[in-house]
Subunit: 315 residues, 2 copies
């Protein structure tokens, strides 16, 4: 079973959520769930996890500070990906016996970074494990006060497709270090887009698995197609080709679509983070949900990026 098959199974099982549980405004499938908690603004809810050897090289090759940082930053990025603001965080850590003596350093790092992004740790759970260090972080946030939650399903035919920053090269091939450990979640950028564009910001998500596969997910969620100009994809320094930029993953930049009447500014207002128009949203049609056009040849975006497939024997 591929991850995408499992997710399809989960989404199908969750299709009745809205009708059975009217407080659930958005269920599985977007960057965050959205909950009407009764009386106040809706809440954004997200859980994300990191596993040593999968999301970072085990300690001490990755310092505790960067392990804690990434565990928080990934979930914060998902709140940014709804245009929201993090409010509080909870963490569950399964800690190998050999690292238990360092667990206070890990907590201190998570504590500091959670507060850095405005979402103090207010609860957690600790377990020992015979396996790798595994950290699950849950964040509760609030959507933009005026725009509300910006879903990945809001793209409309004709929209401009944009990304922030420059893609690719987030994981250093030689050291496994790099930007994936130190990225800054695009909270300010997403907020600025909501502030200035309001309802003309149609769809938003963050890029974690790679532009190709993530844009395919946005197109599927929006029941339309996305076409991307390979030459327009902004590349991080040292990234030689569009395939690496579209497929390497771990960028944690924003992918968003805008009403075609918009003229996107060169950078997110109030920040130095660039905005690049890379494509268009099209009407639904047979073929790939996201097509990347390179010198007249169409490539299926869904083949570029990480599907966490782990085909294995079924015991």
């Amino acid at each position: 079973m591929r991850e995408s098959d499992l997710l399809a199974h989960i989404y199908a099982r969750s299709a009745d959520l809205g009708s059975l549980y009217p407080r659930v405004l958005v269920g599985p499938g977007d960057d965050c769930a959205v909950l009407d908690a009764g009386g106040g603004p809706p809440l954004l809810l997200k859980v994300d996890q990191v596993v040593a050897g999968r999301h970072f090289e085990p300690f001490p090759r990755t310092p505790m500070d960067l392990i804690g940082r990434k565990s928080i930053a990934r979930a914060v990025s998902d709140v940014a990906a709804m245009g929201g603001t993090p409010m509080v965080a909870l963490a569950a850590a399964a800690i190998p016996d050999a690292l238990f003596g360092r667990a206070d350093h890990l907590f201190d790092a998570m504590h500091r970074w959670a507060r850095h992004w405005g979402c103090p740790l207010i609860g957690g759970d600790i377990s020992s494990t015979p396996g790798p260090l595994t950290i699950a972080v849950t964040i509760v946030g609030t959507p933009h006060h005026a725009r509300g939650p910006v879903l990945r399903s809001g793209a409309r035919p004709g929209d401009l497709v944009c990304v922030t920053g420059r893609l690719g090269g987030a994981v250093d091939a030689a050291t496994s270090g790099g930007r994936h450990l130190t990225f800054e979640p695009r909270l300010a950028e997403a907020r600025a887009l909501c502030d200035t564009l309001g309802g003309r910001l149609h769809a938003l998500m963050d890029l974690s698995d790679g532009l190709g596969i993530d844009a395919s997910r946005m197109a599927d969620a929006s029941r339309c197609r996305i076409t991307i100009d390979a030459a327009a994809i902004p590349r991080a320094p040292g990234v030689s080709g569009w395939r690496e930029a579209a497929g390497a993953g771990e960028d944690y930049e924003l992918l968003f679509t805008l009403d075609p009447d918009c003229t996107p500014p060169p950078a997110c207002p109030g920040t130095s983070t660039t905005i690049t128009v890379i494509g268009r949203v099209l009407e639904p049609a047979p073929g790939p949900a996201c097509a990347i056009l390179d010198a007249g040849t169409e490539h299926d975006g869904s083949s570029l990026g990480w599907d966490h497939a782990r085909p294995g024997p079924t015991p």
Copy 2:
């Protein structure tokens, strides 16, 4: 470092939460955190995790249905332990490659049990892992509408100390099966106690690590002492002595204290779950936070139960 040392470190670091973040009504240290989410009733927030080989025997010795059940039930029990009602759940699962083909069965079990207890799964994260199956479940709940959240820190000198049900024997020594996989979180019982006792229900928590250590935690949180009559501890069938009843853990029964004017009913109203008075809350004094008295000899409760200590080398 013992788990208790790490928790003390975390609580000390979190002491400024309430002053810096006034929305955080209760931080780390109780069964759930309590958050003022703005406008509506406060929210209960809890994350808990299970690790194969630690909290259950690995699949297939434990069926997927019971793995999923326990992963949800443990977090639900913490909501019951505040007198609350679960509303929604999120789950992060790190799945060994060899089990990925069964991941849909695991999801289905979690999906079914989460809805059984009123908190549908609305979000999650999936990762592969080279280690054991690890599942972290976050639950958002609401406190009792009239009583509000019942903290473990509310015990007062003079209070009666009570437990629901019968303790010990939750993990079958021969098969590692048993009640710890099939327990029913005491949601209805806790709600009934809040309904009928209101403000005379002073303190409440669930018993996960063992009566001795958990009562010690309640006494510490309440800045008082608890004394328990060993002979009064209700024992599950097959549990021969009070030590096993007080130290075996995984009971998921309720421990609570009542105003001394109360006459506790023999069972939680509307249920068949028994209530037993097992001790008293005392003024603070030197000595163990919880003392269990057996035939005139005082035993330190904190030595009975699970401290998830995993002393190991510090690399």
